[in-house]
Symmetry: C2
């Protein structure tokens, strides 16, 4: 059923990329056929599942057995609680990450915290220090926002001399997206009363790493939240139960989990995690500190490494885009290694500081193709080419990698990671 | 710290309802104090969680131990797979329902289906019958939408002679909301080629109930979807794995799970599930058939039955609103049994045919109060009062209940379900 129907398909860039309109209008490409090998049929025997009652209702569901392989990617670690487990992005769809698959990144394991005894202290340059129990915070007005969270070290292997052959999730799965509900931090800081000298807030977690980060007060007074719920239910321990700081668009490490203390200060603390770590070594030997806001970025998930193409024909290229500066304005896709680009369709609603799904139809003729995506956000910032990103930083610097990535399809449909 | 500060609070309706602006502007009500019993503190001993490494990373997370009580409400049933398990709405936040807590309603249990052998047949009044394997459908272009799904029988106990004393989830938990990803049904019907006489589509599930429903073709060609993913991951068995029909805004029973067959027809099949069941007995003895679209509706979740108020003071009233006709335009809340109303704040983004969170600040002085909410959708349809809804239907009719509900707070803060 796969035939060429160039007139209706409206090719708009090299390598077989089609106008995104084809995704939206029924029939626009049906003469070309999305599927292959569909048979006509006049009826079908009732399956076994219709012959006996099924399983009972349940209190809390679980994934389908055949989806049990969809797991966070947990590496072998010398200290099994210190490291990161990545979201298997290429096996998921849409933009919301289910809570069980939201990436985790811990520095000394996941603490078990009793919400009845946990306390959050706000102190330092305030009129009145305040101590909040979990119960206290539950009385405050709440807001809900769909937001991405990305580890500063996500996609850091792009700095490697040769492209790491690994799945899109293994390379980029330190980003996830959820609906977070909590209390605006500005409400609590206002209640404590800020001293005129206040400029920074140091946040501390109740984990065995004693994780601390200094955050500009301007970010805390903007859209920062004390998150209490994720995708409807209370935070999970891996995400900071009973409460975490949540800084929209800011590197994940600063959204301190198991939050126990906010100290209002005049200057940053210059702790280990904001000097030795989580700072960006520049090409001239200096280091950029407090480069907190995540850049504009996109990754193609279908096709991607590990998801080889079974054969030529019409298919959808899709992936995710996001920016710490706000909404995604545009994502363009190339199938010829950057020689020509076509605009992808963006899934609605396009929300600020949230993942955005992009899709574009593509007819793969069976030849060699190099797929790339580049995103532009509403501030006008554009995702850099790898060479430009590399040129900015010193050797081994892997934080804040938002460079364009490339997948090469060979003549057999095998997908590999390449630098293009 | 709880003091009255009427000037800044701007009361806009009886019983202590405040302007919704107070939720959005830091400091607007802080002089009145959201919390009670907050102590000043100068420091705190490090908790035990900071003294030893925490738990390891994991492949698929689980809720916090203290949240283990947040479960779907499973009744005792003679056939444990035939019935419904409700979402505990009052224990959740935001608008997204985690997959483990999405309501289930089955007529003969949850079938175990192997996606490798499952097939979807499209036949009847079409140019060419088509048979799709799961693998085939995965090649088609996809779309993702955040949508509510509500059982036609949700909130049916509102027809009882006396108000049932039960939680908001037990009364109204046959509604949930998720990001669904799948293939537009119109794309598949277009590929099969519709006969000019086609007017209806009968959908059949592969469960042991052999569930079938007839759906107007106009709905199938509008925004209907063959859903394959829910909140990012493949559908769960309880939600129709490997594929279900998903009809935005339409009663849940018609979104046939474990979908195996779509028969295009000139007339409805008038099956049991669309004549004896899922039809609305009117007061004059006639029955309304194919009343498929869900009405505009809202429920208050905080406070609600089972969540008594600990004491007077400032708090947030919040709940959910939705409509099968599109977006929610407005939700109003009354604290005096409907004598006066105040407009609630709506959580952004307000999406069509999705749950919308509403919130309004409220100072409870400790007296008797009757809380109600009423929603208006973008079509102008308004949620009916219970008396008006009851007057339309015959005795015992409980489908499509979207009547206004009322919670009574007594002088001690105890919440009960009342008819007001």
């Amino acid at each position: 059923m796969v035939t060429d129907d160039g007139e209706r398909e409206e090719r708009i860039a090299g390598g077989g990329l089609l106008h995104r309109r084809a995704l939206l209008v029924a029939g626009a490409v049906s003469a070309g056929g999305w599927a292959s090998g569909l048979g006509a049929a006049t009826g079908a025997r009732s399956p076994d599942s219709m012959r006996a009652p099924g399983a009972p209702l349940s209190g809390y569901g679980a994934p389908a057995p055949s989806a049990a392989k969809i797991q966070r990617l947990v590496p072998n670690l010398p200290f099994p609680g210190s490291g990161s487990a990545r979201t298997p992005l290429e096996l998921l769809e849409g933009t919301i990450t289910p809570n069980g698959l939201h990436f985790e990144r811990h520095h000394n394991g996941v603490p078990a915290i009793d919400p009845a005894t946990h306390e959050l202290l706000i102190h330092g340059l305030v009129r009145q220090p305040l101590l909040f129990r979990y119960e206290d915070l539950l009385r405050y007005p709440r807001e809900s926002r769909i937001l991405f969270l990305e580890c500063s070290g996500n996609s850091g292997t792009i700095a490697a001399a040769t492209p790491v052959q690994a799945s899109a999730g293994q390379l980029n799965g330190l980003v996830s997206c959820a609906e977070w509900t909590g209390v605006r931090l500005s409400t609590l800081l206002d209640e404590a009363g800020l001293d005129p000298a206040a400029r920074w807030v140091q946040a501390e977690g109740a984990d065995a790493a004693g994780m601390t980060r200094s955050i500009p007060l301007s970010i805390c007074l903007d859209d920062a939240m004390i998150a209490l719920f994720q995708n409807g239910e209370p935070l999970r321990p891996q995400q900071g139960f009973p409460m975490r700081l949540l800084l929209p668009g800011i590197e994940g490490n600063a959204s301190i989990k198991w939050l126990r203390r906010l100290k209002v200060m005049a200057t940053p603390a210059f702790s280990r995690e904001e000097t030795s770590k989580y700072s960006d070594l520049l090409i001239d030997g200096r280091a950029e500190l407090f480069s907190l806001r995540m850049g504009v970025k996109s990754v193609i998930l279908a096709p991607s490494f590990g998801l080889d193409l079974a054969g030529p024909g019409l298919r959808e290229i899709s992936g995710l885009a996001w920016s710490g500066r706000g909404r995604i304005r545009r994502v363009e896709v190339s199938a010829d290694g950057g020689a020509s680009w076509a605009e992808a369709a963006l899934g609605e609603p396009v929300l600020p500081k949230a993942l955005t799904r992009f899709r574009i139809p593509w007819r793969w003729e069976g030849g060699v193709a190099t797929l790339m995506s580049r995103a532009v956000d509403e501030s006008g910032a554009e995702q850099p080419r790898r060479a430009d990103w590399i040129a900015k930083y010193g050797p081994g610097q892997g934080y804040h990698s938002n460079a364009i990535q490339s997948w090469r399809i060979d003549g057999q449909g095998h997908v590999s990671h390449v630098y293009a």
